[in-house]
Assembly symmetry: C2
């Protein structure tokens, strides 16, 4: 599973970070998914390998503009690329009203259908081949959600040592055993895949959360997840000055939650422009990072725009070069 960040700023874009947008692709799949679509997301996509034609679904965490104002332009551009496949848009109910209102008021006609799912009443999205998606309610000024993406069926592993011990030859035959078939060996033995399959590894699971001042709401979901992507808009000190009204999280609060729940990989994003620095200034996020590292011993990342992270089958996350 690859995660590419298209925008990592909170509220407004800066010269180094765009507003929210995150692409998710299952390895070996042509299609991909988008979580949030702030203004300029389609511009960022022009600098990736993703195409608006192969986009499978868009998940909007909440209705604030820095998470959805890029939707109308992205939909229009997909139309100009002659997309014909239906596009799923999941989010709180306000998303449908926003999109439908813009289509109507700006006379935008799309050459493909939109399928809206209101996650406030339908939190489980089961009709994507590659993943099951679950929406968890968060705490913010408007209805806000985290999306959990869980691999549907990890490929079973074969017990290679036992196969070797029983003198079962390598090659296509082992592929059939891996798929659970019964096969007849050249020497006449009849064997069953099920007898050589190891318990499947845990399915990979990634949570990409929207704006949220109560990470604990993700406790149930995060226990089985390998990756949590969560906003860390401020440091704890800045958050104390700003006050609770905007309902955002600090880096420290999110890191403490990740430690407590035992999630092995944590990616922080959605940084207030005060932390952006300038291009090439590698140290702009130092305060946020130090606060998070002080209480979290897992693999910690602070996302930058256009970075791609890969979640391996071993459940560990790595930044791709």
């Amino acid at each position: 599973m690859d995660i590419q960040f298209l925008g990592t700023s909170s509220g407004t874009p800066s010269t180094t970070r765009n507003v929210a947008g995150t692409a998710l692709r299952m390895q070996d799949e042509r299609g991909w998914m988008l979580v949030d679509c702030g203004e300029g997301t389609q511009h960022r996509i022009l600098h990736t390998s993703f195409s608006l034609v192969s986009l499978r679904a868009i998940f909007i965490t909440h209705i604030h503009g820095d998470h959805c104002y890029g939707l109308p332009g992205l939909l229009a551009s997909a139309g100009m690329l002659n997309r014909t496949a239906e596009l799923l848009i999941a989010g709180p109910g306000a998303v449908r009203r926003f999109v439908q209102g813009v289509l109507d008021s700006t006379e935008l006609r799309l050459p493909y259908a939109l399928c809206f799912v209101d996650v406030e009443s339908n939190p489980d999205i089961d009709f994507l081949d590659e993943v099951g998606v679950h929406a968890t309610t968060l705490s913010h000024r408007v209805p806000s959600f985290a999306y959990s993406f869980t691999e549907r069926t990890p490929v079973p592993r074969l017990d290679a040592a036992r196969l070797d011990g029983d003198g079962i030859p390598s090659g296509p035959l082992r592929g059939r055993l891996q798929r659970g078939e019964e096969v007849v060996l050249p020497d006449g033995r009849r064997i069953r895949g099920a007898d050589y399959q190891l318990p499947p590894r845990p399915p990979r699971k990634v949570i990409i959360a929207g704006d949220n001042d109560a990470p604990d709401l993700l406790a149930g979901e995060a226990r089985q997840a390998q990756v949590l992507v969560h906003e860390a808009t401020y440091t704890e000190a800045a958050l104390a000055k700003v006050g609770p009204a905007p309902q955002h999280s600090s880096a420290g609060r999110v890191a403490a939650f990740a430690r407590d729940v035992g999630v092995p990989n944590l990616v922080l994003t959605h940084f207030s422009p005060r932390y952006h620095g300038t291009a090439g200034d590698g140290n702009a996020l130092a305060e946020l990072e130090a606060e998070a590292r002080a209480c979290y011993q897992g693999k910690l990342f602070l996302a930058d725009d256009l970075q791609t992270y890969r979640l391996g089958r071993d459940g560990m996350l790595a930044l791709l070069p």
Copy 2:
């Protein structure tokens, strides 16, 4: 008068050109105006000297997304910068419905007031100090307008030769004469500014047009204008293939109009992505340029994103370095 192009693409952004947006500033004024606001306009503004706090007014030519989908994000960002001054938004009536609909559906609260002017019923906008603005109806799939910006009161010129001949000293005294005051000279003579003022030069006038397949509609406006900024989406050959339905102009058609009406400076923009080429490819627009040059002998420019043009008091336009 300075004109800075923020986006010069038609329909969708590419890696080299954003969708429509043009900034206009009267020299010596702190405020500025924006014509059209495609998605990503606020991102382009981050690379200019313009501030969303000193933006005086936004003029939208028509309701198509590549000319207005950047409005909600720009308004939101101006709010986050604590703008308090009322902002004028002029355009066809659909613009107000679009903006109001997005404000409502996305719960966007602005800390400043919006003042909408529907140019379909009020084509003359007279309440800006620095310029008078007139909206001319164009021909497109939806109501589309060109905006003429006319300098309000050119500073009167003094007849320096006559002043010298009459032995009137240089210095602050001449400034008072220029403003039309009556002054008493050191030698006791009493003279009046009006007697030494030359007829004022013609006011500078710039037309920035929206999408339009009938440049002739601008004949009345363009006769007194020094600059016409007009879309040239295709070459004549490409336009013939595309057919008349999109209702765009070719470079040749616009250039022929500019020649016939005698406008001395023509800037083409809004180029179909087929002509964009890649960054550093200076020749991508060669076809469009050749077609326009074949029938127009005035000063011709094909706009690039972030270029600034200055219209001097002599009525000639120059690209700033």
